[in-house]
């Protein structure tokens, strides 16, 4: 079971998740400090470690729209958030799979801050309201990367395979 700590609407942009003015900070380990930096109160709670890992952010359509900046995924990954949204923007969804940030596509999700939810492969159950919502599985192309433990591991395997081919 996981707790919903933030509920957002449509079109949450990468500028909202990780404002452009902090883009000089690139390394994944350094990005969490600027997570939702313009939502001062939430950012302060995050930095004070008041939000436990595997907390849930619920959003509507087109979460992560805008820039391709990977900081938007790494900053959320830094707190081990689970993002349950009605839909995601393409590059953000791909970056999330690549970095191991959990994203759940749940087109009808309804939840309020403080609700407890249960996430299974096929559905999300809102334990507080009792409502159940179907999950759309990630495309196989992305699931394969997640199953490999992220794109670094996935690509490393391919690089080694090709080096082996060249040698033999």
């Amino acid at each position: 079971m996981a707790k919903v700590v933030l509920v957002l609407g449509d079109d949450v942009s990468t500028d909202a998740i990780y404002p452009g003015r902090f883009m000089a900070t690139v390394l994944p380990g350094e990005t969490p400090q600027y997570c939702f930096a313009d939502m001062t109160e939430f950012n302060t709670r995050l930095k004070a470690k008041k939000v436990p890992p595997e907390s849930v952010i619920v959003a509507a359509n087109n979460f992560g729209c805008g820039s391709s900046r990977e900081q938007a995924a790494s900053t959320l990954k830094g707190y081990e958030f689970i993002i349950v949204a009605k839909g995601f923007a393409r590059i953000f969804l791909q970056n999330s799979a690549n970095l191991g940030l959990r994203t759940i596509i749940c087109p009808t999700i309804e939840a309020a801050e403080g609700d407890e939810i249960e996430i299974a492969a096929a559905e999300v159950v809102n334990m507080t309201s009792g409502a159940r919502f179907a999950v759309v599985p990630l495309p196989k192309a992305r699931q394969d990367i997640i199953d490999a433990g992220g794109l670094i591991a996935y690509a490393r395997k391919k690089v080694l395979e090709e080096a082996g081919k060249k040698r033999s």
Binding site: V26, D38, I91, I152, R156
Partner: protein, 426 residues
């Protein structure tokens, strides 16, 4: 069943005869572009090779382009240090398509690529920047990816696990009226499709309104397709593409022209009557909040921005100068101009376009992303309103979440600079 342009490009690049929307392919990459975020790509690239015992070597350094544009000259020691590390990497790996902060080679990545002939019709281009969609203007399949994905491209020379996108066909008919520009077409299309209406799709452009448009206008149009969520935009290469490559990009070999099959399958068809279009405005805080300029009443602005990869080309600056020449920017308004490249800057300088703008009160900045992404140069104050020819108006985009950004064409921006309120240029 026929193929769309992007399906044909992806079939060729992945060594298959036919691919269809939804197939997963690993296309070979013709050009892989990064800007300052190459610093992160380098980090992830090293991670891929960690403990493999293999040498960290880019698959083909001649196919990598790195352009400094996002924070030029460096706004902080952190950026300067990252840029320095990238220069060292470029030298070590033998990357030749490198554009440093110099007036003889620099500019915004999405202008540098086409004007240097790096973009070829029918090619596959990836960039660690969402507006990599721009290069579809020359008939390439060009899309944005994340830094880790780019690191895998540097290692392998292909993009892993790409789902072939479906295609939306947009047909633009008729001739734009005086004072209406390509920017107005794409703003209108985004308003119709919404900010996620083209998510996971490509927008393929057709019609006499596109055929008669210059490559500069097509770059504006394709640049903003990502604002409808699109993977990319594409204009099938034609006579104009060949002309641009020959005359403006110095490419002598003939362009390959990939056209869609007559029975290609589209997920949606949208028709635009260009002749009926009026200047458009995207209102805060989403790009799809689009209205005809006549419906945006009494909006006072403090900052006008003309430039960026969307509208910082010579014709954009000329359109603005035509309106501003011999006049003055209204009191209380700051006008900032960011040419998209130094080549454009110098052309505009020689033609007297820059002096017309400066005499009118505009501040001409160095080519680069400038205030577009809110890192440095031209941030907004609390409660201020900007009118900009850039491509995004998200909350906080110009460096201040307590400010508002409206988007428009260079003609609307220039006309509004004279009055201090959002104004129809006609």
């Amino acid at each position: 069943m026929g193929m769309t342009v992007v399906e044909k490009i992806l079939a060729r690049a992945s060594g298959q005869r036919v691919v269809k929307a939804g197939n997963v392919v690993e296309p070979a990459v013709d050009l892989a572009m990064s800007h300052e975020n190459a610093a992160l790509v380098m980090n992830q690239f090293a991670e891929i090779y960690k403990d493999t015992g293999l040498e960290t070597k880019i698959w083909d350094p001649s196919k990598i382009a790195i352009i400094f544009d996002h924070r030029v000259p460096a706004e902080s020691s952190k950026t300067a240090t990252n840029q320095k590390k990238i220069r060292d990497f470029v030298a070590k790996q033998g990357i030749t398509k490198f554009h440093d902060i110099r007036a003889d080679e620099g500019g915004i990545c999405h202008q540098i690529l086409p004007e240097n002939g790096y973009v070829r019709p029918g090619g596959v281009i990836v960039g660690t920047d969402s507006h990599t969609t721009s290069h579809g203007a020359l008939g390439a399949f060009s899309f944005g990816i994340g830094a880790t994905e780019m690191a895998a491209v540097w290692a392998l020379g292909r993009v892993l696990n790409v789902e072939v996108p479906g295609t939306i066909k947009v047909i633009v008919r008729g001739k734009l009226r005086e004072g209406v520009l390509p920017k107005d077409i794409i703003l209108h299309v985004i308003g119709k499709l919404t900010a996620e209406g083209a998510n996971f799709k490509v927008i393929e452009f057709h019609g006499d309104g596109i055929a008669s448009m210059t490559t500069s206008g097509r770059l504006t149009v394709c640049n903003m397709t990502v604002e409808a969520g699109a993977t990319s935009g594409i204009v099938p290469a034609d006579e104009e593409t060949a002309r641009y490559l020959r005359e403006e990009a110095g490419v002598s070999d003939a362009a390959e022209r990939v056209a869609p099959d007559p029975d290609a399958v589209y997920s949606q068809v949208l028709e635009v009557d260009a002749a009926a279009l009026s200047p458009q405005i995207a209102c805060p805080h989403t790009v799809d909040n689009v209205k005809p300029v006549g419906e945006v009443k009494d909006v006072r602005v403090q900052q006008i921005v003309i430039g960026s990869c969307t509208n910082g080309r010579l014709d954009d600056l000329q359109a603005a100068a035509k309106i501003l020449k011999g006049r003055r920017v209204a009191k209380g308004v700051r006008m900032l101009v960011f040419p998209a490249s130094w080549r454009i800057y110098k052309d505009a300088m020689r033609q007297g376009v820059l002096s017309d703008l400066v005499e009118a009160g505009a501040v001409v900045m160095n080519p680069g992303c400038g205030c577009c992404l809110g890192v440095h140069q031209g941030a907004l104050g609390d409660g201020e309103v900007a009118l900009s020819t850039t491509n995004r108006n998200f909350k906080g985009r110009m460096g201040n979440p307590n400010a508002e950004v409206y988007l428009c064409s260079p003609a609307v921006a220039a006309a509004s600079a004279l009055t201090g309120v959002i104004t129809d240029p006609r």
